[in-house]
Symmetry: C4
Subunit: 374 residues, 4 copies
């Protein structure tokens, strides 16, 4: 393919993710890929929710506990999801078209994620075949992100291939029944480059490049409750519902068989003017009541935020944009650097707050609301 | 007339209304009409209320509901007011002197509004005769905005003509007993151009250009409760009271015969330092208690805000400035583009929030206050 | 005297007082009087309280009432204090050294205030003798602002002269037992110009220029409760206590004979980090419970703010800086312009909010707190 | 040593500490010591807590009381800690490497602090031997800041020397079990200059320059509750626990023998995203319930803030950065100037708020929360 992008493979020296994001935008612009950068970093509407996903973490402040003789060397961040052991509670959210930022595309992300002891969720809109991605790092666990199409043959085709290639779970994305209005993309007349086809979709005979699906626009981005059981039966895999933003929806998902609740507003990319996910989290955690694991995404830029999400009820957090920044600058090694950076920040926060492992973090941490009415 | 202004007729590509407003200011300045632009976009006093009319929508955040298998193709925004079917819940507020921005003046606005499946409210201060405006698009429904003058002959003259030309309702504007202090206009020594007379007023023999009325200054911008019944009787038309900002005033209006409550602070153009309309809405909706329809204006710049106003109790929303921006750039087609833009944004919000029609929006939507005291 | 300053006498076209303040700073700078401008517009410490005196008015929003057929022509702002009839509820606070901004000094301010139908409070630190000031406009009512000195002879000298020249009341300034740290003045090494003596103080033999008193620094800026009765007896005049900032102090003042409560933090010029006066007002109004009149100052820049202060319990408001801006640009006529500007803004606010006189404003107005915890 | 730095000795004219901080940064940059300045003024993470340590003081506003005839000449700020009489309630927090800013290093700070009637806490990371520091001003009282190392020999070595040189108390710093991530230092690749060894640590044979300890990284920055009693027994000195940020930790410290509670988040240098200390203070004061003295640090930049901290329950406040600014510009005299500046601002605040001494300040002051939910 002739889309010019980075192919460097190296570990990164990262100060923090917000800085890395700014560097990413500069680097993409230098390669005349401003529009692609906007597609990745931007959000819907006035980007109110994109902004608040991040800033609302400041609504909560940590109260450290410092008198108990912690042994720093005992600090660890090991976590677990659906029986899969992880070195870190930070996993990778699905995002489209990794080829936009690095020639290794999804394969690079999977490898880098695996090397960080984490787990990747592969998007339906990948630039590589599932077989290619999986084949690049066969030992790596991964989830498959799926959303319904009106065309049941396509649904079957994708789900069967995910099972075939060894997905550990199906993550069903539910985002309401339309696409988000991303004004940057509208202003930019953004379109995916024909040199970067969605190869797995393109493998389905009706969509020669995979990109066609965006024009066909017959995706169902919402979900019927009874479809959860159908996918479970069809795939024999656990099903996580991604896009949950209220306690009611979490309950509805669990009652219909969901094996996990994935809180997400897709990073503020779908509907602007909605609650940040960190605002929604306490209500959802209460509704879930530990029946199934909770994955939290949208807004995570710092380890301190991971800490707060876990303390407020999440079991894992997921990040979508930051791994792409790492992939862009360092290929798989860059992805590892990003995940390791956030894990290091999280561990530092834990030790300074007075807990040495995730279980204690979740059970023994005190947060205070920053703006009490008094 | 020699007032130079746009006469282009074309559909517009709109990113969002705030961007369009900035383009409007630039374009008017390029034609040496900065003062006219200030008159249109500005507000009273320190523009605190103008600003908060918009920003206070952020006090409420939408909680989307995503698990019920919505059929995107079923999404629609049809609405209704006083028996008139509309394609959209977004109608056009009265505003003065459309000739300031486009040579087609009020006729262009009426045509563009009609083509968008919406309804226009024609101001007393129109640059064209009611007969001209109505005659340009005879099938278009419209309301007539009226405010009392000390001169009863003028009142009779205007109301009779409105009836004669087929107004569907009389919208009585009540804004308190004075004009707002618009500091931009005072600073600019703004005056209406004598080449743009208020033709309907000028048709009344005592006001040769119509503009004179502004100097005579014997308007009654306040209203006696018993005048509502009088207008109803005189015109045989439904009467809506525009300018309501509290539950008490809404009750007083209804008890005196009002057929609809129009919440408005005239876009922050009259009294600065007052509540935004979105802050006033919940109290008024409770007071009205579905006895008559509620129209909401002041502050609407995005479909997401329309959604919130409807969810908080409005039946329709009205916009005053944005249609003028559309009229300026594209004549009647530009007006249609603006109304369609907001309708599209609204429909997108509905589908992403989990509702397919206005009734469900009003009954099944959950908003959360963004700044709880906890 | 050789201190160069303005001596122009003319009516002013004012947009609003904040704009006028900016013009004032420019004009003073053009005359190499930046330090004097800083002395006048600045405040203590980090100017937190100076800022919040103004911005905290936004904590309250007016709820207009528009349906009762107000007759605009009946709108009036007449007020009264201690039996003195005024055209406006806006009077002039004491401030030092009017000669800094205009050659007519305090005489200009008194004349301009009188012509606006208002009342001036003359500061102990005037650049003219009380006899000169009073003599310039003998019909003008005025109060005398007094604060205790350790030297009882000086106290007697000043109070006797105030009585002699016809003061209508004594305003005792109580500001705590020290001077405010005005960092602009410290940075500027600000000092009063020897060409602008405090003439009334200089008339006391021990203070040849009047300015010496600032070095002697034996002022008592605090007050013993029993001194209120002493001054009343000595002067035979009503005594108002200026500088009250809490309900407790208001009660203490009234119980010790105060004839009026003057809420003030001297425009944020004394102690920074304290409550704005508009925050303190509701508590003080409740404590006073209409036993004596309440004068409110500190923060007033717009008629809308006057409206809010009256609605929250003040009987009059006082302004200190704005009359100096008017004096600077237009002598006595400029002072009248400033007072008339604020009165016009107030009247406009009243009519648009639905009240025609001050009594109705105080009894029938609804304000809402802008930041409810919900 | 060849590290170039200031050696001037002079009193300073200070407007306020924030201005001095900006001057400090400029002056350090002029000497090519930007990195050292960043090390001193910076904080951890996004510097949220560094910022809020300062700005959260604005959450509380002083309500002055002005009617009781205070005698300004009686105003005084004398205080006391562990039987040591002080002229001021403002003492000096431990901070590393005073040699970074002035050639007199810790000796200069001790002398300047003593001359201000205050008390210094000497850090383990001093550039001079305790013997040198103490010897420079033998009459000056001082505390020794100590944190545990894994190497018990080093612990013994340091504590014994502190006792030997006459420390009045041991301040045990507990900051959680890791170092803060100071992004400025990471970005700058900041390292201590080898020409500025930590001499007291270097006196311990295993750490030739003292700087080595930072690489060894076997510090225990957390503490076991039972270690408090051990240090008390070993040194025969009172032990204060520094780093307390919650009521629970304060109680745990007192129950294990702490002679004082030192509230600190080390100026926002350890864990970002935690509560400001002024937010934590009321809860801790309630938990301590006057059983032991409370020292408060982190955020103090103005006397007004000292006032608020004392009013909310602190007995003393401590400052770490500001004395370094004074030391840089004026050696010991500069340190005195800084402490005297804050004491003067505090006294000014006291007199203007209506109290003449620290006891009255603590018992008779009213603060109001600035953001009530109403």
């Amino acid at each position: 393919m002739s889309y010019n992008t980075s192919s460097v493979e190296k570990e990164l020296e990262i100060i923090n993710i917000p800085d890395l994001e700014r560097e990413f935008e500069k680097s993409m612009a230098a390669a005349a890929h401003e529009k692609e950068a906007d597609f990745i970093v931007g959000g819907a509407g006035a980007e109110h929710t994109l902004h608040h996903n991040i800033s609302d973490f400041d609504n909560w402040e940590i109260v450290p506990s410092v008198i108990h003789g912690l042994d720093e060397s005992k600090g660890n961040t090991t976590s677990e999801i659906l029986g899969i052991k992880l070195k870190t509670p930070i996993i990778v959210s699905p995002s489209a078209a990794h080829g936009l930022v690095h020639s290794s595309a999804e394969s690079g992300t999977l490898k880098g994620t695996f090397n960080a002891g984490s787990l990747m969720t592969i998007s339906t809109f990948s630039n590589q075949l599932l077989k290619t991605i999986h084949g690049s790092t066969p030992a790596a666990p991964w989830f498959y992100q799926f959303s319904f199409d009106q065309n049941q043959h396509l649904n079957d085709f994708l789900l069967n291939e995910a099972v075939q290639q060894g997905a550990k779970a199906i993550v069903v994305g539910v985002f309401g029944a339309s696409f988000g209005r991303r004004e940057r993309d509208i202003r930019n007349h953004f379109d995916f480059d024909p040199d970067l086809p969605f190869r797995q979709l393109a493998a389905f005979p009706e969509y020669p490049t995979g990109l066609d699906i965006l024009k066909v626009n017959n995706r169902k981005r919402d979900i019927n409750p009874d479809e959860i059981a159908k996918i479970k039966k069809q795939t024999g895999l656990p099903v996580l519902i991604k896009g949950i933003q209220s306690g009611e929806d979490a309950i509805r998902a669990i009652e219909n068989g969901a094996d996990g609740i994935w809180i997400s507003n897709t990073g503020g990319r779908q509907l602007d003017g909605i609650r940040s996910t960190i605002k929604a989290l306490p209500e959802i955690a209460e509704a879930v009541n530990k029946r199934v694991p909770i994955i939290f995404d949208s807004g995570i830029r710092r380890g301190q935020q991971v800490f707060k999400a876990l303390a407020l009820g999440a079991d894992l957090v997921a990040i979508g944009r930051a791994p792409l920044y790492g992939l862009h600058f360092g290929g798989s090694k860059g992805v590892t650097s990003v995940l390791e950076q956030l894990r290091t920040e999280l561990l530092n926060t834990m030790l300074l707050a007075g807990v040495t492992n995730i279980k204690k973090l979740k059970n023994n941490t005190r947060l205070e609301y920053a703006y009490p009415g008094i």
